[in-house]
Subunit: 304 residues, 4 copies
Amino acid sequence: MLDESAKGVFTIAVTPFLPDGSLDLDSVDRVTDFYLEQGATGLTILGMMGEAGKLSAGESLAVIRRVTARVTIPVVVGVSAAGLAPMQALAVEAMQAGAAGVMVAPPHTLRSDGQIVSYYHSVVEALGEIPWVLQDFPLATGVQIPTSVIAQIVADCPTCVMLKHEDWPGLDKISALRAASEAGARRISILCGNGGLFLPEEMARGADGAMTGFAYPEMMAQVIAAIEGGGADRAQDIFDAYLPMARYEGQPGLGLAIRKYTLAKRGAIAHPTLRKPGAALNAAGMAEVDRLAARQAVRLAALG
Amino acid sequence: MLDESAKGVFTIAVTPFLPDGSLDLDSVDRVTDFYLEQGATGLTILGMMGEAGKLSAGESLAVIRRVTARVTIPVVVGVSAAGLAPMQALAVEAMQAGAAGVMVAPPHTLRSDGQIVSYYHSVVEALGEIPWVLQDFPLATGVQIPTSVIAQIVADCPTCVMLKHEDWPGLDKISALRAASEAGARRISILCGNGGLFLPEEMARGADGAMTGFAYPEMMAQVIAAIEGGGADRAQDIFDAYLPMARYEGQPGLGLAIRKYTLAKRGAIAHPTLRKPGAALNAAGMAEVDRLAARQAVRLAALG
Amino acid sequence: MLDESAKGVFTIAVTPFLPDGSLDLDSVDRVTDFYLEQGATGLTILGMMGEAGKLSAGESLAVIRRVTARVTIPVVVGVSAAGLAPMQALAVEAMQAGAAGVMVAPPHTLRSDGQIVSYYHSVVEALGEIPWVLQDFPLATGVQIPTSVIAQIVADCPTCVMLKHEDWPGLDKISALRAASEAGARRISILCGNGGLFLPEEMARGADGAMTGFAYPEMMAQVIAAIEGGGADRAQDIFDAYLPMARYEGQPGLGLAIRKYTLAKRGAIAHPTLRKPGAALNAAGMAEVDRLAARQAVRLAALG
Amino acid sequence: MLDESAKGVFTIAVTPFLPDGSLDLDSVDRVTDFYLEQGATGLTILGMMGEAGKLSAGESLAVIRRVTARVTIPVVVGVSAAGLAPMQALAVEAMQAGAAGVMVAPPHTLRSDGQIVSYYHSVVEALGEIPWVLQDFPLATGVQIPTSVIAQIVADCPTCVMLKHEDWPGLDKISALRAASEAGARRISILCGNGGLFLPEEMARGADGAMTGFAYPEMMAQVIAAIEGGGADRAQDIFDAYLPMARYEGQPGLGLAIRKYTLAKRGAIAHPTLRKPGAALNAAGMAEVDRLAARQAVRLAALG
């Protein structure tokens, strides 16, 4: 079961499809193995970048079961939904299938502090004992969650064990939450998203790791390992080498096509297909990725 | 099967719950009968005001089957979803259960004309031969669909047989679409929402009826009957008598609680319960509704 | 100077233009007189429905001076702006010209409770001793201000003397603020907008009057007078007679064209012109307004 | 006068303030000189990052005159406003003061293609012969402008001479507009924003340069010079060296505080002050910037 001690790299997993748009379960296996090999300490499946909303209920369950059957590291399942009943149904199925916890983003209609807190109270009522991750991703959800609201949710909801931190800018939020836990508040795990684009600063501010799906997940693992080994400059050197590509992959909307293109090139999935609506990378984009990848390889080699 | 000739009153059905939040299928029967008695020529279930997003997939199917088993008038099922695969799954199940068609609102993320048209092209690809209703409700969806875009969808998609018209203001949109069909474009059915608050003007502009869930659905039936009988002033007299209540029920967010309170008072459902998140009407609100209902009864009696 | 005792009808004034779009200062005089004759106890100029954003700084000042020179009732000036410096500049000029206070809506970018409170703290810092009205109009601003935030602003900012209440639904907000002032909080004036569409209920909940620009401002004056005279049913009868028109004028975006059309028909302004971008009422709309006006006259005559 | 041949680096200028928030005109001179020294071929003042909305009309004019008096390169003035009349007034004053053109972003309320086109038709009517820049910055404005709409504006409005390209992702938009001009459409200048974060790809897609305010504007000048000299890899090496900092400065909201902090450290402005509402960089942020600056200096030295 997921708890507040979670750390390292929880890779956000893509959901692979065949060219006709049907689920590619063989590639689910392959990409799961790939993530493990590249240093994942956990996996997050059926998140936004897992095209969760495009799956039928049956397909979601098939993916969950396939992944949980293959790994022993904790698997977090995205269960964000328009209503509490479908969220609850999926969460219960996920836990029965062996998930370690679930992740819940706020519906885009929430505005005031009180509405957000009240929503997560209802989530807890629906989830019961299931440990869950609070996803704070204003660029995608349109919901801005102040630090004070996160602190209140942490205080009110013991089953909230992790923050998926993806506010932008969000560094001061990490610092404030860590100051709060040093002052006596419960300390939850903070894993950071944003494609890894602020990982060195996030770790320095007190994050416990990354939860993101950059197509070179070894970057996150190596940066975190270097930081834990005391090598902040070494960590930044590694980070800087991947940064041109991470920046390119960070384009909203297009980013998943870039990610899947790279994962397919690396052999981690059979096809770069996105489900509709969702465009493929065009030739100009592929050439840009290829150029960045070639430069990245040279720079990494020089780093040793 | 739903087609372009649909007219009259397609009542937007509430989904009744027991006080503990579980589905109240007996009240589904009762409110279905009530709608028929009050003049419904069709039913729309699992729309926004049917709390569709709050139901699990199994519950949605249970409601569909219960309603289609009870009536012979056409039943439209709301199938709006975050992705095409779950939409398709629900639509196929609905049609197998005897629905006449489905209704699809645009996802809140759509912005440009091209994005909207492209989305509905994908919808048609997913739905195949299933006839569907385009829901145009900017206040709720955040998506503004220009008349020219509706016209293009009508031209591109033969299975789009109806517009649920709920733009506000939207009267000129009806006029423009009717002018287009007089100029040779395919004429689809236009049924109007907005709680019936503009029904006389909408009918005069060329609408074919109402698709809304005002808790006195006899208003829509009587107004339409009077208009069809040539009595525009009589129609407006009836409308005016209900207007103070229709205005009160039209409060966004709170409106469904008002509607369920009235339906419960009228015996059409056993409990006014909304599923969470969704508040009940408080005492002050109930008193306001009661006062308006009493005045409405007097005024209707005076009308004869 | 505006203070917490303000009550009655603060009419939201239109800004009249000549057909070429230039300011029509003669009609400013005429419509000001008209508002006085129809029972205004105050005026609000340069609000959203005063097309404030479309005026140059010089034109805004010309309107302010013209109105304040003509009346002795309090004049509130809308000073909402993208920044504090231009707001301050306009507010100071308005007060020097004889305004009684200013009105400030929140910028559309505000989200969390803290952001809203903080913004109004900055407003107070910019305005100094100038009394001001908090405009709470989520449908137009996109900013939802919880009751608790209004209460905090009232507590923190002694120069906030009035709430322009225009939330929808917003009746419970009035009740909660009045309960707070009965429990010891400072009691500010609450004047209600929303085109007057909820005036009877708003007054019953504790509002002090209306601040709205419905083209028949005598409705608000008469309804409030009847309520103050103890005739709640008489008040509602008057309200109901105007309701079909008030509902029609309440169409967002189009409402101002409807309002100016009626005011021009009533002789209160010379031309119904809106400044660009802003459409005129078309022929179908004019016919609908004329029909509603004719029915309204009959019904008012019957009321006596 | 600005025309379609504009290219190079149009630096987005900050507006410097004294610690008490008043305009710092001496620093206006100093930062203007700094931008020139770092390779600016044009300047853009009173844009979003110039805190334009926070200035009174008189202050805006003072800044315009100060800058235009000091330089001979073209100065573009941001004139986006809530209405056409204030926009026109500022644009006329700016041109009289010696500006080369103006820049106009769409109001946040625009949604459909037709609304956007119609808005810019009105802009042209208001601006007359004044050449103007179309600012396409969805992340800040909330308005998504499809490529086809830009093409229509270019076709309809001969005075639109430049696109400030700041869509994200937006690379394919550049390619599509260049393909259109190769197919016969008028070719306008495209200068790119986004803090320079995609400059190498943007230039390769056909952009004419950058219009952004990264606090190391020499990066843009050097990258463009290298590309024009045929050294795409050299250009990318320079870009990569600045990228960790450009990424850090790219944090929305916080970015301007970072930029002013750096400009003050570099001696280009006297104080890093932002006008309220607008926060200063805190100590943790300053330390992060200092660390990145130190690493950047080392890396640039190694590049030679």
